[in-house]
Symmetry: C3
Subunit: 292 residues, 3 copies
């Protein structure tokens, strides 16, 4: 017997200037009045599938049981498939375009169970134009699942192995150097790197040199000494820190100001971390364990 | 016996930087705890009644049954009336200022049924200042309707024919030329025109010349060749397209970039469409049927 | 027996570009599925505790009974305490950092009843990093209260007298002059002052001279004549007004344009009001009663 759901967690690049988000919620409300929609964010930059996939991955372990609806969909109405992916023995279902957006979250949720392509037009709205699959295809699918419609009624099963993977850049690490990348700059200007604290060997002490390119600097790079800190408030005014952020990753941060703005860091920038000298333990065994 | 409602769909120019939207929802929550509020958008530019009326008209056929609360209200506390308008035999009620904001949506919903002016102060909050009718007049009205209070208890009946009409610009079309206007530029930079596909005669083929003024161009106009496409993704990089958008109207669009930014198009701009030469069918009968 | 709550009213400086707000709501949804979260605003400028405290104070008398969750928290993970404060005999509980953010709202709600520091980690989420107390500490506290958990189970009681007070600037007023400050500039450009209509003596008539500094003006100040008006629409085009706003305070305003932008006013600016000459009543008794 099919399971019903109570919650739809919704992420998109729709913004909130237009009525897109409201219309999607209206469609869900009309089909499944009992379902509660929780907005994760709609502030993903237009078409930025990677940023959307990372935000979804950061959220997924906190999201309520139920349906996750994610729409960053530059290829709408093209050959890209719309899919619904069961995870965690059906405790959750992720719905969206098969363009890599869902992949990291699916992986963090333990991998895909059943997968269908959303081919059953009887479970969709008649489309005026083909450009708003969020309204016409994905929202009805989410709502019908909430009503207890089984995944298999939404379309043809497909092989989970054929889903488009997400692309998350891996750092290059050795004993004294880690070449990292900025994954995300949040509202407060913290620049999250693609490394966790366990990516730094024991050679790294309380001070870490961080080197990055600055477009306006013709010498091609700047080095700053960052101190490792548990909280932003531990950083004296103007000091740059490396703080374990709320996703468990290292972030370049400052106290009550934007490290990204101050240092000129943006998503995708390379940041090289080098063990500083203050309290390095040269005789220790370097150990590198990825946090996730 | 009066009908009760479960949903309030809410549109405004309040933005979300301030607490205005939250306070309106708090008022509704306190009076009608069972009502669910769905935000259509609060990103209408301040005082832009026309933009609000268009967003509401685009949304109305998707909005859940119940109350629609719309507040773009430059004339708050002046002579303009606050009204509640029944539509679709009472399946919905639109509430807001009588300044043209509601008119296109009412029309799309089949026209006005009973109408009252919101004159009954016993169904309003005692106002601190007169500037926030959304909180003091419109929200309580919406909430009381949700509780089953009859429309007639909110104020004096007025003649629907006296409501201020909305103003939607009409295109001028002949066999080979359509003079259109940009109605809306969405977050993705698609420039919606006030013409649907049926406004183009059969003389229009797959290619359409679009001509528009560019403020920075002293010659007063630019012409681009646009190809008609079903989806953005069909447009090769840099090509301009005419796509049937999610409202069923033609939009000037590009693939994964903002056509409006690229071409310098803004709301209100005139765009002239002329049949291109590639596949025109000179002998065919021109037919022009308005879509709505 | 403990009281349970149905509503969480949520204010923060999280913005909506990132998923912070959505994650906080997801945590509440998972712990207390019946609770409805109402967003007051998340547009408080990053770290701006004062702006957050003022927005909360403006909202508090409209907020639904239940829990108020407020997070503007530059000192997260430092020595600052997280607290829960009962008000109105337990009709409401305010949760957030003890940094002055909650103080004005608590005061407007009649003062603090029981207060606890949120020290009971069994009622919190295990933190990945220490930087997101909204998710790990405050949201679970709010949700548990909704479930009927008593305040005393969230941590150790503390003396309400030891809570950090908020700082609201007081005006200086005499018979013919009031030195005020801009508390808030809203989306529409109205500049709310820290004076209510009762702060102006009877010497003030329908016209008030307002004097303020303009950074770009080397003479250090500009004087404009403002007319008192009940609504924005009463102000002729280009005229500056003093309008009693929706909080009952005087705001410098214009009709359908931003007075703040036009006059160069910003939060914190000093504005001196002087009785104009048009209809001053020189023989009357000056009376000054503070509105709150």
């Amino acid at each position: 017997m099919a399971r019903a759901y109570e919650t739809v967690s919704f992420l998109s690049d729709f913004g909130t200037q237009d009525e897109f988000v409201g219309v999607v919620k209206s469609v869900i409300r009309e089909i499944a009045p009992h379902a509660v929609v929780i907005d994760l964010t709609h502030g993903i930059a237009p078409f930025d599938v990677r940023a959307g996939s990372l935000a979804l991955a950061r959220s997924i372990s906190y999201v309520a049981s139920g349906v996750v609806l994610a729409v960053v969909d530059p290829g709408v109405a093209s050959a890209r498939r719309g899919v619904a992916i069961e995870v965690a023995d059906g405790e959750g279902v992720l719905i969206g375009p098969d363009n890599g957006l869902l992949a990291p979250a699916v992986s963090m949720a333990g991998g895909a169970g059943r997968v269908v392509e959303l081919t059953n037009t009887e479970r969709q709205l008649p489309a005026v134009g083909a450009t708003f699959a969020g309204r016409d295809v994905f929202a009805p699918a989410a709502a019908h699942l909430c009503n207890g419609v089984d995944l298999s009624e939404l379309g043809e099963p497909i092989d989970a192995g054929l889903l488009l993977p997400g692309v998350v850049p891996l750092p290059q690490a050795d004993d004294t150097t880690v070449i990292a990348q900025v994954l995300w700059v949040d509202r407060f200007g913290n620049a999250q790197l693609n490394v966790g604290p366990a990516d730094l060997s024991e050679r790294f002490g309380d001070r870490v040199d961080i080197r990055f390119s600055v477009p306006t600097d013709p010498t091609g790079g700047t080095t700053r000494s960052a101190r490792r800190a548990r909280s932003y408030a531990e950083l004296p005014g103007g000091a740059v820190g490396l703080v374990v952020d709320s996703s468990g990753m290292l972030a370049v941060a400052m106290d009550q100001r934007s490290a990204a703005a101050e240092l000129g860091l943006d998503v995708g920038d390379q940041v090289t971390l080098t063990a500083g000298d203050d309290d390095a333990q040269p005789g220790s065994q370097p150990v590198s364990i990825r946090p996730h």
